[in-house]
Amino acid sequence: MIEKYIPYIGKEFIDELFLISRKLKGIKVLHVNSTKEGGGVAEILNRLVPLMNELGIETDWQIIKGDRTFFNFTKKLHNLLHMPGKEEINSDEIVYYLKITYENMNQIDTENYDVIFIHDPQPMGLVIKKQPGQKWIWRCHIDTSTPDPKAWHFLENFLNAYDACIFHMPEFAYEGITIPTYIIAPSIDPLHPKHIELSQEEIINTLTRFGINPEKPIILQVSRFDRLKDPFGVLKAYKLVKKKYDCQVVLVGAFAPDDPEGEQVYKELLNFATGDKDIFILNLPPNSHKEINAFQRGATVVVQKSLKEGFGLVVSEAMWKAKPVIGSNVGGIKRQIVHGITGYLVNSIEGTAVRIRYLLANPEIRKTMGFHAKERVRHRFLIIRHLRDYLLLINRLLKNND
Protein backbone atom coordinates (compact mmCIF):
# COMPACT_ATOMS: atom_id res chain seq x y z
CA MET A 1 0.00 0.00 0.00
CA ILE A 2 2.62 2.52 1.06
CA GLU A 3 4.38 2.41 -2.32
CA LYS A 4 1.18 3.73 -3.88
CA TYR A 5 2.05 7.12 -2.42
CA ILE A 6 5.36 7.32 -4.29
CA PRO A 7 3.88 8.99 -7.40
CA TYR A 8 2.55 11.80 -5.19
CA ILE A 9 5.52 12.52 -2.95
CA GLY A 10 8.56 10.66 -4.28
CA LYS A 11 10.37 7.52 -3.15
CA GLU A 12 12.87 9.40 -1.01
CA PHE A 13 10.14 10.56 1.39
CA ILE A 14 8.87 7.00 1.80
CA ASP A 15 12.45 5.85 2.46
CA GLU A 16 12.66 8.41 5.26
CA LEU A 17 9.48 7.02 6.81
CA PHE A 18 11.08 3.58 6.94
CA LEU A 19 14.17 5.10 8.55
CA ILE A 20 12.16 6.56 11.42
CA SER A 21 10.11 3.39 11.74
CA ARG A 22 13.24 1.32 12.23
CA LYS A 23 13.89 3.29 15.39
CA LEU A 24 10.48 2.24 16.67
CA LYS A 25 10.79 -1.49 16.03
CA GLY A 26 9.14 -3.61 18.69
CA ILE A 27 6.84 -0.97 20.12
CA LYS A 28 3.08 -1.30 20.19
CA VAL A 29 0.75 1.59 19.48
CA LEU A 30 -2.96 1.91 20.14
CA HIS A 31 -5.41 4.44 18.74
CA VAL A 32 -8.73 4.93 20.52
CA ASN A 33 -11.69 6.97 19.32
CA SER A 34 -15.45 6.74 19.42
CA THR A 35 -16.44 5.59 15.94
CA LYS A 36 -15.16 3.28 13.23
CA GLU A 37 -17.03 5.03 10.45
CA GLY A 38 -18.10 8.53 9.62
CA GLY A 39 -16.23 11.72 10.28
CA GLY A 40 -12.69 12.85 9.65
CA VAL A 41 -11.07 11.00 12.57
CA ALA A 42 -12.30 7.57 11.48
CA GLU A 43 -11.41 8.41 7.88
CA ILE A 44 -7.80 9.17 8.75
CA LEU A 45 -7.42 6.22 11.15
CA ASN A 46 -8.77 3.83 8.54
CA ARG A 47 -5.68 4.62 6.52
CA LEU A 48 -3.09 5.49 9.20
CA VAL A 49 -3.41 2.27 11.19
CA PRO A 50 -2.66 -0.07 8.25
CA LEU A 51 0.18 2.21 7.14
CA MET A 52 1.80 2.11 10.58
CA ASN A 53 1.57 -1.69 10.56
CA GLU A 54 3.08 -1.79 7.10
CA LEU A 55 6.01 0.23 8.42
CA GLY A 56 6.57 -2.49 11.01
CA ILE A 57 5.01 -0.71 13.99
CA GLU A 58 2.39 -2.96 15.56
CA THR A 59 -0.66 -0.72 15.73
CA ASP A 60 -4.21 -1.41 16.84
CA TRP A 61 -7.37 0.64 16.84
CA GLN A 62 -10.12 0.30 19.42
CA ILE A 63 -13.47 2.01 19.77
CA ILE A 64 -15.13 3.01 23.02
CA LYS A 65 -18.75 2.13 23.58
CA GLY A 66 -21.44 4.39 24.88
CA ASP A 67 -25.18 4.83 24.87
CA ARG A 68 -27.28 7.73 23.62
CA THR A 69 -27.03 9.62 26.91
CA PHE A 70 -23.25 9.39 26.85
CA PHE A 71 -22.92 10.53 23.25
CA ASN A 72 -25.48 13.31 23.73
CA PHE A 73 -23.25 14.60 26.49
CA THR A 74 -20.03 14.29 24.46
CA LYS A 75 -21.73 16.03 21.53
CA LYS A 76 -22.73 18.85 23.83
CA LEU A 77 -19.20 18.93 25.22
CA HIS A 78 -17.83 19.08 21.68
CA ASN A 79 -20.07 22.04 20.85
CA LEU A 80 -19.16 23.86 24.05
CA LEU A 81 -15.45 23.31 23.43
CA HIS A 82 -15.98 24.86 20.02
CA MET A 83 -17.71 27.90 21.47
CA PRO A 84 -19.75 28.90 24.53
CA GLY A 85 -23.48 28.33 24.11
CA LYS A 86 -26.70 28.66 26.03
CA GLU A 87 -26.32 25.21 27.55
CA GLU A 88 -23.75 24.13 30.07
CA ILE A 89 -22.56 20.79 31.34
CA ASN A 90 -24.01 19.64 34.65
CA SER A 91 -22.86 17.33 37.40
CA ASP A 92 -25.26 14.51 36.46
CA GLU A 93 -23.74 14.40 33.00
CA ILE A 94 -20.23 14.40 34.40
CA VAL A 95 -21.07 11.48 36.68
CA TYR A 96 -22.57 9.62 33.71
CA TYR A 97 -19.49 10.31 31.61
CA LEU A 98 -17.32 8.84 34.37
CA LYS A 99 -19.60 5.81 34.65
CA ILE A 100 -19.32 5.01 30.92
CA THR A 101 -15.60 5.72 31.02
CA TYR A 102 -15.28 3.20 33.84
CA GLU A 103 -17.17 0.61 31.77
CA ASN A 104 -14.89 1.26 28.82
CA MET A 105 -11.85 0.86 31.04
CA ASN A 106 -12.81 -2.77 31.41
CA GLN A 107 -13.45 -3.19 27.69
CA ILE A 108 -10.48 -1.40 26.16
CA ASP A 109 -7.16 -3.12 26.59
CA THR A 110 -4.48 -0.48 27.01
CA GLU A 111 -2.02 -2.44 29.16
CA ASN A 112 -0.14 -4.06 26.32
CA TYR A 113 0.81 -0.90 24.49
CA ASP A 114 3.73 1.49 24.72
CA VAL A 115 1.99 4.47 23.16
CA ILE A 116 -1.70 5.27 23.30
CA PHE A 117 -3.30 7.93 21.12
CA ILE A 118 -6.66 9.10 22.44
CA HIS A 119 -8.65 11.02 19.84
CA ASP A 120 -11.01 13.82 20.93
CA PRO A 121 -12.89 14.16 24.22
CA GLN A 122 -15.12 11.06 24.19
CA PRO A 123 -12.46 8.49 25.29
CA MET A 124 -10.34 11.03 27.15
CA GLY A 125 -11.05 9.69 30.64
CA LEU A 126 -9.35 6.40 29.83
CA VAL A 127 -6.09 8.06 30.84
CA ILE A 128 -6.76 6.93 34.39
CA LYS A 129 -5.60 3.50 33.18
CA LYS A 130 -2.16 4.87 32.37
CA GLN A 131 0.68 2.65 33.54
CA PRO A 132 4.30 3.55 34.34
CA GLY A 133 6.43 3.66 31.19
CA GLN A 134 3.51 4.19 28.83
CA LYS A 135 3.13 7.36 26.78
CA TRP A 136 -0.37 8.71 26.42
CA ILE A 137 -1.09 11.34 23.79
CA TRP A 138 -4.31 13.29 23.46
CA ARG A 139 -5.06 14.20 19.85
CA CYS A 140 -7.54 17.05 19.62
CA HIS A 141 -9.33 17.37 16.28
CA ILE A 142 -11.52 20.31 17.20
CA ASP A 143 -11.12 24.06 17.46
CA THR A 144 -10.82 24.80 21.17
CA SER A 145 -9.56 28.37 20.81
CA THR A 146 -12.61 29.96 22.48
CA PRO A 147 -14.22 27.23 24.59
CA ASP A 148 -16.86 27.45 27.25
CA PRO A 149 -14.67 27.75 30.40
CA LYS A 150 -16.55 25.10 32.36
CA ALA A 151 -16.35 22.58 29.50
CA TRP A 152 -12.64 23.30 29.08
CA HIS A 153 -12.01 22.94 32.80
CA PHE A 154 -13.67 19.53 32.73
CA LEU A 155 -11.34 18.53 29.91
CA GLU A 156 -8.27 20.06 31.51
CA ASN A 157 -8.48 17.70 34.47
CA PHE A 158 -7.86 14.75 32.16
CA LEU A 159 -5.66 16.57 29.67
CA ASN A 160 -2.81 17.34 32.03
CA ALA A 161 -2.56 13.68 33.01
CA TYR A 162 -1.34 12.89 29.46
CA ASP A 163 2.29 12.94 28.38
CA ALA A 164 1.63 15.19 25.40
CA CYS A 165 -1.20 16.69 23.43
CA ILE A 166 -1.60 17.62 19.78
CA PHE A 167 -3.62 20.45 18.24
CA HIS A 168 -4.08 21.42 14.60
CA MET A 169 -2.89 24.99 15.22
CA PRO A 170 -1.37 26.84 18.21
CA GLU A 171 -4.47 29.04 18.29
CA PHE A 172 -6.50 25.99 19.29
CA ALA A 173 -4.42 25.32 22.42
CA TYR A 174 -6.37 27.07 25.15
CA GLU A 175 -5.14 28.03 28.62
CA GLY A 176 -4.01 25.82 31.46
CA ILE A 177 -2.10 23.18 29.51
CA THR A 178 0.94 22.06 31.46
CA ILE A 179 2.04 19.15 29.26
CA PRO A 180 4.10 19.34 26.03
CA THR A 181 1.89 20.66 23.23
CA TYR A 182 2.59 19.71 19.64
CA ILE A 183 1.16 21.22 16.49
CA ILE A 184 0.29 18.74 13.78
CA ALA A 185 -1.98 19.81 10.94
CA PRO A 186 -4.58 17.37 9.64
CA SER A 187 -4.23 15.83 6.22
CA ILE A 188 -5.98 14.40 3.21
CA ASP A 189 -5.36 11.05 1.60
CA PRO A 190 -4.68 11.18 -2.15
CA LEU A 191 -5.82 7.56 -2.44
CA HIS A 192 -9.25 8.22 -0.93
CA PRO A 193 -12.13 8.05 -3.45
CA LYS A 194 -12.73 11.75 -2.76
CA HIS A 195 -9.25 12.59 -4.06
CA ILE A 196 -8.28 10.03 -6.69
CA GLU A 197 -7.76 11.17 -10.25
CA LEU A 198 -10.91 11.18 -12.40
CA SER A 199 -11.19 11.20 -16.15
CA GLN A 200 -12.62 14.27 -17.84
CA GLU A 201 -15.50 12.08 -18.95
CA GLU A 202 -16.34 11.08 -15.37
CA ILE A 203 -16.26 14.71 -14.28
CA ILE A 204 -18.52 15.85 -17.11
CA ASN A 205 -20.93 12.95 -16.58
CA THR A 206 -21.28 13.78 -12.89
CA LEU A 207 -21.87 17.47 -13.54
CA THR A 208 -24.47 16.82 -16.25
CA ARG A 209 -26.20 14.21 -14.08
CA PHE A 210 -27.00 17.04 -11.68
CA GLY A 211 -28.01 19.41 -14.49
CA ILE A 212 -24.83 21.51 -14.26
CA ASN A 213 -23.44 22.83 -17.53
CA PRO A 214 -19.76 21.80 -17.78
CA GLU A 215 -19.16 24.52 -20.39
CA LYS A 216 -20.18 27.38 -18.13
CA PRO A 217 -17.96 28.63 -15.26
CA ILE A 218 -18.73 26.97 -11.92
CA ILE A 219 -18.30 28.58 -8.49
CA LEU A 220 -18.35 25.84 -5.86
CA GLN A 221 -18.63 25.60 -2.10
CA VAL A 222 -18.64 22.20 -0.40
CA SER A 223 -19.86 22.32 3.19
CA ARG A 224 -22.68 21.12 5.37
CA PHE A 225 -25.78 23.34 5.41
CA ASP A 226 -24.85 25.48 8.36
CA ARG A 227 -25.09 29.25 8.78
CA LEU A 228 -21.50 29.33 10.03
CA LYS A 229 -20.40 28.23 6.54
CA ASP A 230 -22.19 31.33 5.20
CA PRO A 231 -23.88 29.71 2.18
CA PHE A 232 -26.06 32.81 1.81
CA GLY A 233 -22.91 34.92 1.60
CA VAL A 234 -21.70 32.71 -1.25
CA LEU A 235 -24.99 33.18 -3.11
CA LYS A 236 -24.84 36.94 -2.59
CA ALA A 237 -21.28 37.01 -3.92
CA TYR A 238 -22.46 34.96 -6.91
CA LYS A 239 -25.24 37.50 -7.59
CA LEU A 240 -22.60 40.25 -7.72
CA VAL A 241 -20.42 38.21 -10.06
CA LYS A 242 -23.41 37.30 -12.22
CA LYS A 243 -23.79 40.93 -13.29
CA LYS A 244 -20.62 40.52 -15.36
CA TYR A 245 -20.25 36.79 -15.94
CA ASP A 246 -22.61 34.09 -17.13
CA CYS A 247 -21.74 31.58 -14.45
CA GLN A 248 -23.20 28.94 -12.14
CA VAL A 249 -22.92 28.46 -8.41
CA VAL A 250 -23.03 25.05 -6.77
CA LEU A 251 -23.49 24.55 -3.03
CA VAL A 252 -22.91 20.92 -2.16
CA GLY A 253 -23.61 19.69 1.33
CA ALA A 254 -25.50 17.35 3.53
CA PHE A 255 -27.65 17.48 6.59
CA ALA A 256 -28.37 14.68 8.99
CA PRO A 257 -32.02 13.67 9.45
CA ASP A 258 -31.74 14.68 13.12
CA ASP A 259 -30.38 18.14 12.32
CA PRO A 260 -33.40 20.48 12.13
CA GLU A 261 -31.17 23.53 11.71
CA GLY A 262 -29.47 21.97 8.67
CA GLU A 263 -32.78 21.18 7.04
CA GLN A 264 -34.03 24.71 7.74
CA VAL A 265 -30.92 26.25 6.16
CA TYR A 266 -31.30 23.96 3.15
CA LYS A 267 -34.93 25.04 2.67
CA GLU A 268 -34.04 28.70 2.96
CA LEU A 269 -31.30 28.24 0.37
CA LEU A 270 -33.75 26.56 -2.01
CA ASN A 271 -36.08 29.49 -1.48
CA PHE A 272 -33.27 31.96 -2.16
CA ALA A 273 -32.43 30.11 -5.38
CA THR A 274 -35.97 30.12 -6.73
CA GLY A 275 -36.09 31.44 -10.28
CA ASP A 276 -32.37 31.19 -10.97
CA LYS A 277 -31.55 28.04 -12.92
CA ASP A 278 -27.83 28.62 -12.45
CA ILE A 279 -27.98 28.08 -8.70
CA PHE A 280 -27.60 24.47 -7.59
CA ILE A 281 -28.27 23.51 -3.97
CA LEU A 282 -27.37 19.85 -3.68
CA ASN A 283 -28.03 17.79 -0.60
CA LEU A 284 -26.03 14.61 -1.11
CA PRO A 285 -25.80 11.41 0.95
CA PRO A 286 -22.79 11.33 3.32
CA ASN A 287 -20.68 8.95 1.21
CA SER A 288 -20.90 10.83 -2.09
CA HIS A 289 -17.11 10.90 -2.34
CA LYS A 290 -16.79 10.50 -6.10
CA GLU A 291 -19.43 13.15 -6.74
CA ILE A 292 -17.65 15.64 -4.46
CA ASN A 293 -14.40 14.77 -6.20
CA ALA A 294 -15.98 15.47 -9.60
CA PHE A 295 -17.51 18.76 -8.45
CA GLN A 296 -14.17 19.95 -7.07
CA ARG A 297 -12.34 18.95 -10.24
CA GLY A 298 -15.02 20.44 -12.46
CA ALA A 299 -15.20 23.77 -10.61
CA THR A 300 -13.67 26.90 -12.05
CA VAL A 301 -13.26 28.61 -8.68
CA VAL A 302 -13.75 27.11 -5.23
CA VAL A 303 -15.00 29.18 -2.30
CA GLN A 304 -14.98 28.55 1.45
CA LYS A 305 -16.73 31.51 2.94
CA SER A 306 -17.07 30.28 6.52
CA LEU A 307 -17.74 32.79 9.29
CA LYS A 308 -16.01 30.48 11.76
CA GLU A 309 -14.03 27.40 10.91
CA GLY A 310 -12.04 24.71 12.65
CA PHE A 311 -9.32 23.67 10.26
CA GLY A 312 -11.52 23.52 7.17
CA LEU A 313 -9.70 20.71 5.41
CA VAL A 314 -12.12 20.99 2.50
CA VAL A 315 -9.90 23.87 1.38
CA SER A 316 -6.95 21.51 0.94
CA GLU A 317 -9.22 19.04 -0.82
CA ALA A 318 -9.91 21.60 -3.56
CA MET A 319 -6.31 22.82 -3.61
CA TRP A 320 -5.14 19.26 -4.18
CA LYS A 321 -7.25 19.32 -7.37
CA ALA A 322 -5.22 22.34 -8.51
CA LYS A 323 -8.01 24.84 -7.84
CA PRO A 324 -7.44 28.34 -6.53
CA VAL A 325 -9.53 28.74 -3.38
CA ILE A 326 -11.10 31.94 -2.12
CA GLY A 327 -11.53 31.48 1.60
CA SER A 328 -12.45 33.52 4.64
CA ASN A 329 -9.61 34.83 6.72
CA VAL A 330 -10.55 32.61 9.69
CA GLY A 331 -9.38 29.48 11.51
CA GLY A 332 -7.36 26.94 9.59
CA ILE A 333 -8.36 28.42 6.23
CA LYS A 334 -5.73 31.09 6.67
CA ARG A 335 -3.13 28.39 7.35
CA GLN A 336 -3.88 26.65 4.07
CA ILE A 337 -4.38 29.47 1.59
CA VAL A 338 -1.33 31.60 0.88
CA HIS A 339 -2.95 34.89 -0.06
CA GLY A 340 -2.27 35.90 -3.65
CA ILE A 341 -0.28 32.70 -4.30
CA THR A 342 -2.62 29.72 -3.92
CA GLY A 343 -5.86 31.70 -3.74
CA TYR A 344 -7.22 34.62 -1.78
CA LEU A 345 -8.19 35.31 1.82
CA VAL A 346 -11.29 37.47 2.03
CA ASN A 347 -13.25 39.25 4.73
CA SER A 348 -16.55 40.16 3.05
CA ILE A 349 -19.12 39.20 0.43
CA GLU A 350 -17.93 42.03 -1.83
CA GLY A 351 -14.31 40.91 -1.40
CA THR A 352 -15.31 37.37 -2.32
CA ALA A 353 -17.11 38.58 -5.45
CA VAL A 354 -14.23 40.72 -6.65
CA ARG A 355 -11.75 37.83 -6.28
CA ILE A 356 -14.09 35.45 -8.09
CA ARG A 357 -14.41 37.95 -10.94
CA TYR A 358 -10.65 38.33 -11.15
CA LEU A 359 -10.13 34.59 -11.36
CA LEU A 360 -12.91 34.11 -13.90
CA ALA A 361 -11.32 36.80 -16.05
CA ASN A 362 -7.82 35.32 -15.83
CA PRO A 363 -7.50 31.64 -16.75
CA GLU A 364 -3.71 31.77 -16.67
CA ILE A 365 -3.73 33.10 -13.11
CA ARG A 366 -6.14 30.32 -12.16
CA LYS A 367 -3.75 27.80 -13.63
CA THR A 368 -0.70 29.22 -11.86
CA MET A 369 -2.48 29.53 -8.52
CA GLY A 370 -3.91 26.04 -8.93
CA PHE A 371 -0.43 24.68 -9.53
CA HIS A 372 0.91 26.36 -6.38
CA ALA A 373 -2.15 25.23 -4.42
CA LYS A 374 -1.51 21.61 -5.30
CA GLU A 375 2.17 21.92 -4.45
CA ARG A 376 1.30 23.42 -1.08
CA VAL A 377 -0.95 20.48 -0.23
CA ARG A 378 1.67 18.02 -1.50
CA HIS A 379 4.18 19.38 0.99
CA ARG A 380 2.02 20.24 3.98
CA PHE A 381 -1.34 18.48 4.03
CA LEU A 382 -0.98 14.92 2.78
CA ILE A 383 -1.34 11.87 5.00
CA ILE A 384 2.32 10.83 4.69
CA ARG A 385 3.45 14.04 6.39
CA HIS A 386 0.81 13.43 9.08
CA LEU A 387 2.09 9.90 9.63
CA ARG A 388 5.70 11.10 9.72
CA ASP A 389 4.81 13.67 12.39
CA TYR A 390 3.20 10.98 14.54
CA LEU A 391 6.26 8.74 14.22
CA LEU A 392 8.60 11.58 15.14
CA LEU A 393 6.47 12.41 18.15
CA ILE A 394 6.40 8.79 19.32
CA ASN A 395 10.17 8.60 18.94
CA ARG A 396 10.60 11.85 20.81
CA LEU A 397 8.43 10.78 23.74
CA LEU A 398 9.86 7.29 24.04
CA LYS A 399 13.46 8.35 23.74
CA ASN A 400 12.83 11.42 25.89
CA ASN A 401 15.65 13.21 24.11
CA ASP A 402 14.36 16.74 24.55
Binding site: E12, L19, E171, A173, I177, I183, I184, T342, H372, L392
Partner: protein
Protein backbone atom coordinates in the same frame (compact mmCIF):
# COMPACT_ATOMS: atom_id res chain seq x y z
CA UNK B 1 34.33 14.18 7.94
CA UNK B 2 37.22 11.95 6.77
CA UNK B 3 37.16 10.81 3.18
CA UNK B 4 33.65 9.39 3.18
CA UNK B 5 30.62 11.58 2.92
CA UNK B 6 27.77 10.28 5.09
CA UNK B 7 24.37 11.31 3.75
CA UNK B 8 21.89 12.41 6.40
CA UNK B 9 18.44 13.90 6.49
CA UNK B 10 16.61 16.19 8.86
CA UNK B 11 13.01 15.89 10.02
CA UNK B 12 11.19 17.81 12.72
CA UNK B 13 7.94 18.32 14.53
CA UNK B 14 6.49 21.57 15.72
CA UNK B 15 6.03 22.19 19.43
CA UNK B 16 4.10 25.14 20.81
CA UNK B 17 6.16 27.06 23.39
CA UNK B 18 3.09 28.55 25.08
CA UNK B 19 4.42 32.06 24.40
CA UNK B 20 2.11 34.36 22.46
CA UNK B 21 2.51 38.11 22.08
CA UNK B 22 0.20 40.90 20.97
CA UNK B 23 2.54 43.88 20.59
CA UNK B 24 5.83 44.63 18.88
CA UNK B 25 7.43 45.44 22.22
CA UNK B 26 6.44 42.06 23.66
CA UNK B 27 7.57 40.42 20.43
CA UNK B 28 11.02 41.96 20.79
CA UNK B 29 11.26 40.98 24.45
CA UNK B 30 10.23 37.41 23.58
CA UNK B 31 12.80 37.25 20.79
CA UNK B 32 15.51 38.04 23.30
CA UNK B 33 14.72 35.04 25.46
CA UNK B 34 13.06 32.35 23.37
CA UNK B 35 14.73 29.01 22.85
CA UNK B 36 17.17 28.96 19.93
CA UNK B 37 15.08 26.19 18.38
CA UNK B 38 12.21 28.64 18.27
CA UNK B 39 14.29 31.02 16.16
CA UNK B 40 15.27 28.00 14.12
CA UNK B 41 11.63 27.07 13.56
CA UNK B 42 10.36 30.48 12.51
CA UNK B 43 13.29 31.40 10.30
CA UNK B 44 14.77 28.17 8.94
CA UNK B 45 11.90 25.70 9.01
CA UNK B 46 9.57 28.31 7.63
CA UNK B 47 11.97 28.94 4.79
CA UNK B 48 11.83 25.23 4.02
CA UNK B 49 8.04 25.12 4.29
CA UNK B 50 7.61 27.79 1.67
CA UNK B 51 10.69 27.26 -0.51
CA UNK B 52 8.58 26.02 -3.41
CA UNK B 53 6.08 28.91 -3.37
CA UNK B 54 6.70 32.45 -4.61
CA UNK B 55 5.77 33.94 -1.24
CA UNK B 56 6.32 37.58 -0.34
CA UNK B 57 7.98 36.76 2.98
CA UNK B 58 9.67 33.49 3.72
CA UNK B 59 10.00 33.74 7.47
CA UNK B 60 7.06 33.85 9.81
CA UNK B 61 8.31 36.89 11.75
CA UNK B 62 8.28 39.01 8.59
CA UNK B 63 4.91 37.64 7.50
CA UNK B 64 3.35 38.46 10.86
CA UNK B 65 4.73 42.01 10.72
CA UNK B 66 3.39 42.42 7.19
CA UNK B 67 -0.07 41.14 8.18
CA UNK B 68 -0.14 43.69 10.96
CA UNK B 69 0.82 46.51 8.62
CA UNK B 70 4.42 46.95 9.74
CA UNK B 71 5.62 46.92 6.15
CA UNK B 72 9.07 48.43 6.74
CA UNK B 73 9.85 46.02 9.57
CA UNK B 74 8.56 43.10 7.49
CA UNK B 75 10.80 44.06 4.61
CA UNK B 76 13.89 44.49 6.76
CA UNK B 77 13.34 41.22 8.63
CA UNK B 78 12.72 39.33 5.39
CA UNK B 79 15.99 40.70 4.00
CA UNK B 80 17.87 38.61 6.56
CA UNK B 81 19.27 35.64 4.69
CA UNK B 82 19.48 32.78 7.22
CA UNK B 83 21.98 30.95 5.05
CA UNK B 84 24.53 33.65 5.92
CA UNK B 85 24.46 32.66 9.60
CA UNK B 86 26.23 29.89 11.46
CA UNK B 87 25.27 30.96 14.96
CA UNK B 88 21.66 31.42 16.03
CA UNK B 89 22.73 33.91 18.69
CA UNK B 90 24.05 36.19 15.94
CA UNK B 91 20.73 35.84 14.15
CA UNK B 92 18.86 36.68 17.34
CA UNK B 93 21.04 39.74 17.92
CA UNK B 94 20.46 41.02 14.36
CA UNK B 95 16.70 40.46 14.51
CA UNK B 96 16.41 42.34 17.77
CA UNK B 97 18.67 45.14 16.50
CA UNK B 98 16.61 45.64 13.34
CA UNK B 99 13.38 45.76 15.31
CA UNK B 100 14.75 48.04 18.03
CA UNK B 101 16.17 50.53 15.56
CA UNK B 102 13.21 50.66 13.19
CA UNK B 103 10.26 50.37 15.52
CA UNK B 104 8.43 53.53 16.49
CA UNK B 105 7.53 53.04 20.17
CA UNK B 106 4.92 55.80 19.95
CA UNK B 107 2.69 53.62 17.77
CA UNK B 108 0.81 51.44 20.21
CA UNK B 109 -1.86 49.04 19.02
CA UNK B 110 -2.82 45.47 19.69
CA UNK B 111 -1.96 43.06 16.90
CA UNK B 112 -3.11 39.61 15.93
CA UNK B 113 -1.16 37.33 18.27
CA UNK B 114 2.12 35.73 17.32
CA UNK B 115 2.49 32.18 18.60
CA UNK B 116 6.06 31.06 19.17
CA UNK B 117 6.73 27.47 18.24
CA UNK B 118 9.94 25.50 18.34
CA UNK B 119 11.30 22.70 16.21
CA UNK B 120 12.12 19.32 17.68
CA UNK B 121 14.67 18.01 15.24
CA UNK B 122 15.59 14.50 14.27
CA UNK B 123 18.73 13.93 12.23
CA UNK B 124 18.92 10.53 10.56
CA UNK B 125 21.62 8.83 8.55
CA UNK B 126 20.26 7.78 5.18
CA UNK B 127 22.37 4.63 5.14
CA UNK B 128 24.63 5.48 2.22
CA UNK B 129 27.97 7.16 1.93
CA UNK B 130 30.35 8.20 -0.80
CA UNK B 131 34.08 7.72 -1.09
CA UNK B 132 34.53 9.42 -4.43
CA UNK B 133 32.75 11.84 -6.71
CA UNK B 134 30.99 9.14 -8.71
CA UNK B 135 29.47 7.57 -5.58
CA UNK B 136 28.62 11.00 -4.28
CA UNK B 137 26.65 11.88 -7.41
CA UNK B 138 24.68 8.63 -7.30
CA UNK B 139 23.78 9.05 -3.62
CA UNK B 140 23.03 12.72 -4.05
CA UNK B 141 20.46 11.85 -6.71
CA UNK B 142 18.60 9.70 -4.16
CA UNK B 143 18.59 12.39 -1.47
CA UNK B 144 15.38 14.14 -0.53
CA UNK B 145 15.12 17.89 -0.25
CA UNK B 146 15.04 17.35 3.53
CA UNK B 147 18.55 15.97 3.16
CA UNK B 148 19.63 18.95 1.07
CA UNK B 149 18.14 21.29 3.64
CA UNK B 150 20.28 19.65 6.32
CA UNK B 151 23.58 19.48 4.44
CA UNK B 152 23.31 22.89 2.80
CA UNK B 153 21.75 24.96 5.55
CA UNK B 154 21.22 23.64 9.03
CA UNK B 155 24.33 21.51 9.54
CA UNK B 156 26.26 24.80 9.31
CA UNK B 157 24.62 25.81 12.58
CA UNK B 158 25.72 22.59 14.23
CA UNK B 159 29.29 22.95 13.01
CA UNK B 160 29.32 26.75 13.35
CA UNK B 161 30.76 26.90 9.85
CA UNK B 162 30.05 29.13 6.86
CA UNK B 163 30.73 26.34 4.42
CA UNK B 164 28.11 23.72 3.68
CA UNK B 165 28.73 19.97 4.08
CA UNK B 166 28.84 19.20 0.37
CA UNK B 167 31.39 21.89 -0.38
CA UNK B 168 33.53 20.97 2.60
CA UNK B 169 33.76 17.37 1.44
CA UNK B 170 34.34 18.31 -2.21
CA UNK B 171 37.31 20.42 -1.13
CA UNK B 172 38.67 17.44 0.77
CA UNK B 173 38.69 15.35 -2.42
CA UNK B 174 40.26 18.11 -4.51
CA UNK B 175 37.11 19.49 -6.14
CA UNK B 176 37.50 23.05 -4.89
CA UNK B 177 35.88 24.66 -7.93
CA UNK B 178 32.72 22.60 -7.62
CA UNK B 179 32.69 23.31 -3.90
CA UNK B 180 32.88 27.02 -4.53
CA UNK B 181 30.05 27.00 -7.07
CA UNK B 182 27.81 25.09 -4.66
CA UNK B 183 28.62 27.34 -1.74
CA UNK B 184 27.67 30.39 -3.80
CA UNK B 185 24.19 29.15 -4.77
CA UNK B 186 21.45 31.52 -3.61
CA UNK B 187 19.45 29.02 -1.59
CA UNK B 188 17.34 31.67 0.12
CA UNK B 189 15.93 32.87 -3.19
CA UNK B 190 15.46 29.55 -4.92
CA UNK B 191 13.52 26.38 -4.29
CA UNK B 192 15.29 23.25 -3.16
CA UNK B 193 14.19 21.17 -6.15
CA UNK B 194 15.89 23.63 -8.47
CA UNK B 195 18.88 23.84 -6.15
CA UNK B 196 19.19 20.06 -6.39
CA UNK B 197 19.21 20.25 -10.19
CA UNK B 198 21.79 23.03 -10.11
CA UNK B 199 24.06 21.06 -7.79
CA UNK B 200 23.77 18.01 -9.98
CA UNK B 201 24.74 20.10 -12.99
CA UNK B 202 27.78 21.42 -11.11
CA UNK B 203 28.78 17.92 -10.01
CA UNK B 204 28.42 16.55 -13.54
CA UNK B 205 30.21 19.54 -15.08
CA UNK B 206 27.11 20.59 -17.00
CA UNK B 207 27.16 24.03 -15.49
Amino acid sequence: MGNSFIFKTELWISKYTGIKVYTIRDFIEALKVIDKLSLFYHVYINMFKYHDLPVHYSNSFAYWLYKNNYILLAEKISAIDPVDYYDLEDLRRDLVHILETNYDEKIKRELTPFYFRKAERQILELGYQAKDLKEFIESFKNSSINSLFYHLITSKLEKKSLINDYSEWLISIGEAKKAEFINKLDIYSDNLYDIKKKILNILEDKK
